[in-house]
Symmetry: C2
Subunit: 389 residues, 2 copies
């Protein structure tokens, strides 16, 4: 880590952050977010790679919709990205065709803000798990309580790489911890909101605004997550923007924005001694890259002002949703600069890369780009060595 000095604050250089769980709302609900605003939001939060969830409208679940998502993202994204394929009742035999090109497969086993719930049909769950090709990308599950236990059994039985999204409550982390101890091939993520908010925060945030899936837990749930933080592989925002008007409506949709507030909230936890900076980098960069088998981004890093204290404003800089449940919270630590594949992509609140600069992490073009940047670096180093000698 490079430690710089700037106005007496400690500036730390970290690798580009990875968020494997974001909802970019395009296609279908671009008034909440789209590939442009969502990836700008990511950069503003220090993220250089995101994984886009498939519960859009239409949902990403077959050739036509996967191609649509690839096309929209390639033309509009400002940071690098992967695209998830959604598991449905109808694609048990075809979802696996996307196992290498997708970020992973997403299975919704609970009712949530999704056109993709698989309800309680264990046959369909089993078919999906059995049919997903071995040694490709992870199977990610939104599953609570007994549904989590059930899907983990299937993952174990068919020896698939399982990833549990947004673990939120004591009952789930207890199961995940003990399954890991028993030797299961299993990873999980936690959201900053489940680590920092609980049911006691609902009056402050507002009842409708507080709606999120999984629901905010109790203080005991939050404590269980921190107590077992060593068993949690990564932080993922579950960035799920809805407009403030929608959140104030009679039927508020569940979900919080999270990309711009994730790192500041987690750096504040570092300052509070709840987690070390080293562990945080593992959970926001190293582990997601390793577990989702993502390429390292060459010449990519972020600069963070560790000591800057600020109050989270109501409106995010770039997200279209226009609100945050963290409004008014004092945090310590701020992203000041993001360099993505050699280009300054964000500095002092401004996005400097164009729409379409972001690349699909699973594409052949991405591998070629990584190769090109490596060669360029080698040449620079060789010429530098040449100058020296």
């Amino acid at each position: 880590d490079t430690v710089d000095c700037r106005s007496s604050n400690k500036i730390v250089r970290l690798p580009g952050l990875v968020d494997v769980h974001v909802h970019l709302r395009e296609p279908g609900a671009t008034h909440k977010e789209d590939w442009d605003s969502g990836t700008a939001t990511a950069l503003a939060g220090g993220f250089t790679m995101v994984g886009a969830m498939p519960n859009t409208s239409p949902a990403i679940m077959d050739q036509a919709t996967f191609e649509l998502a690839k096309q929209l993202s390639s033309s509009k994204a400002r940071c690098d990205f992967g695209i998830f394929i959604g598991a449905t009742f109808t694609n048990t035999t075809t979802a696996g065709n996307f196992a290498n090109e997708a970020m992973g497969m997403k299975m919704y086993l609970e009712e949530t803000f999704a056109p993709l719930p698989l309800k309680d049909d264990i046959n369909v769950w089993r078919d999906h798990i059995m049919n997903w090709p071995d040694n490709t990308t992870p199977i990610c599950v939104h599953a609570d309580g007994r549904n989590l236990a059930a899907i983990l059994l299937l993952g174990w039985m068919y020896n698939k790489q399982m990833h549990v999204c947004h673990v939120s409550h004591k009952e789930e982390i207890d199961i995940i911890r003990d399954a890991k101890k028993r030797g299961m091939r299993l990873s999980c993520e936690v959201s900053p909101h489940h680590l920092t908010l609980c049911d006691k925060d609902i009056p402050r945030i507002g009842a409708g605004q507080s709606e999120v899936r999984p629901k905010l837990g109790t203080e005991e749930d939050m404590k269980a997550l921190w107590d077992n933080i060593d068993y949690i592989d990564m932080i993922a925002t579950d960035h799920a923007p809805h407009t403030y008007e929608e959140k104030c409506s009679a039927k508020p949709p569940p979900g919080f924005p999270g990309l711009e507030t994730s790192l500041p909230l987690m750096l504040t936890a570092v300052h509070q001694g709840k987690i070390t900076l080293e562990e945080l980098v593992k959970k926001m960069h190293t582990n997601p890259i390793q577990i989702f088998n993502l390429p390292e981004q060459p010449d990519t890093y972020i600069e963070v002002d560790m000591d800057q204290e600020w109050v989270i404003p109501k409106k995010p800089l770039y997200s279209r949703c226009g609100w945050t449940p963290f409004e008014g919270l004092k945090v310590k630590g701020k992203v000041v600069k993001v360099v993505l594949r050699g280009q300054t992509a964000f500095i002092d609140g401004k996005i400097l890369v164009e729409k379409g600069y972001g690349m699909n992490l699973r594409s052949k073009e991405y591998l070629a780009e990584v190769e090109r940047l490596k060669e360029q670096k080698t040449k620079t180093q060789l010429s530098f060595v040449g100058e020296k000698s």
Copy 2:
């Protein structure tokens, strides 16, 4: 096997049959069955050992109720028996006290004819599984679909010996087979009614009369059970008597009697070539004894007329329920004699042992009785050898 000749029919001697899953209805519903009538029914069916389920009224779930069951059974049973302890919301820390003295623990994860449903609280399930002492008696589950998958995960995580009651449908046997293939410590039972009846039989039996949990499956389910018969460890009747009046009422309680019809139905399957007699003996004697760690009963056997053809009558010989869903079915094979611990307990339709002759298989008295019978046998053999020489 001893093969005798009697009126040109083949008489076969088999070991005493074991049924690990019966409902004897006492305490609480002795108009349906009690320890006397239920164990007489068992003997009439060729069973010399039964395991009594805890969903009586009161349920068997603590010291007082376990003692009550022990007392009722000891004074009234005519065949040997074990008693299950029921898992409840309130006995997660105390059920384990009965781990050695009970036949096993029974967990009801579904709504059924039971005061003991554990509903969908995975925390309570987990506490029960974790707290059940290792290397004692099995944990038996009534669980369908995803609940089965969930409880099997917990059993695997905490390395407990799990037993799945009355597997009935394709979805459950698929999971059990694949979990066994993957190396899980797991056994299961099937009932003769799920092997021989399906939804096409409902019109014949009557809608209310056909109510049973798990429900009768489709022909495909029945085929899946037979296709995977090698993965099914035992036949258990799930003898669940209700009176014919109750079965004809507006709210018919689920359950079939099964003790008197189990062996004839299974012997008919032997004649049909669906299973060998050797395999049947494994599933009705050897495996239950081994899996439930039951004592072998000395000087105990049954004699079966393999070739006797008969039509199952409406009224069982001994069960108080007074009906059977198998009424009118032609079967081939009949129990003619039962010898239990040296005494003829049943012959030609008559019970010859008194109430209270049956013993608790998990009691110290039982071990002493086994010892006594062994010594007696050794003496007889020695004196016989003496005479010879």
